[in-house]
Amino acid sequence: MATEAAHDEGSSLVFHPMDQFMVKPLFGDGPVHWYTITNVTFWMAITVLGVLALLVLTTSKRATVPSRGQSMAELSYGFIYKMIEDVTGKDGLKYFPYVMTLFMFIVFSNMLGLLPLSFTTTSHIAVTAVLALLVFGFVTILGFVKHGTHFLGLFWVTAAPLPLRPVLAVIELISYFVRPVSHSIRLAGNMMAGHAVIKVFAGFAAIAAVSPVSVIAITAMYGLEVMVAFIQAYVFTILTCVYLKDALHPAH
């Protein structure tokens, strides 16, 4: 549909840059039901298998001198462990498995999405919104379970002068409920924008006069995207840690 629109407008692009984000059934051309195997579910399955391969297969031998795979698995474990310890403190380490799962899933799907002809599952707000809402729900429930009504102290800033506190409470409340929105759209938006830019440059590559420039631009953007793929996974994880810290230590 998007391709037709591009052709109707007499655009010089051969394909529409947003075509790559269309959810299609993997086999055949039927309608998409909840049980249909689409390109999204296919690449999500590959992501999970990739994480399993890295974390289970490589560490099953447990050599004293680690292989390349084991070394990578240990490095990623240590990276997340240190991140939680730095941001939330020692008592946040109990929630390490959740944060590690989030990070590995996001970093693998971002990186696999950079392969040519693959599909970036994290470029869909539907996927990242579920991840962000799970974090939001988990953190809110954890805060109330751990501290009861004291968790509401997060919104009542005792450090501020008394007349200012209701105003601050409203602002804090808004910023609290906007968290899952910014958390999910940041990841999806970054992934989507980067891939769309690459496709726009790829569209220009069909014009002979500018094709060398556009190939160089694609190469440069691709390098940037590899960095962005990692940084966005890192940012998503570290914000999860920050929200976790707020739930564990709500006092302002």
Binding site: M83, D86, V87, V181, S182, I185, R186, G189, I231, Y234, V235, I238, L239, V242
Partner: protein, 78 residues
């Protein structure tokens, strides 16, 4: 005819949300620049503050993302 004007306003509004990108760029650049100037003054303390750097960048970027959200809402929801 009125419908056309509404359509026109919608697309102009979507284009105007791109200004938000500039604001986010200034914010993220400010965070990174101040981090760098602090890190060059005291390089030994720089490594411990990278997490704060990325959190600050993420919060600055979030407001640029809200302009993207408004663009999406105008395009597909209004």
């Amino acid at each position: 005819m009125e419908g056309d004007i509404a359509e026109l306003g919608k697309y102009i509004g979507v284009g105007l949300t791109a200004i938000g990108m500039g604001g986010a760029a200034m914010g993220v650049g400010n965070v990174a620049g101040n981090y760098l100037s602090g890190a060059l003054r005291n390089p030994s303390a720089a490594a411990s503050q990278t997490a704060t750097l990325f959190i600050g960048m993420a919060f600055a970027e979030a407001l640029g993302i809200f302009s993207f959200l408004i663009a999406l809402l105008l395009m597909f929801a209004v």
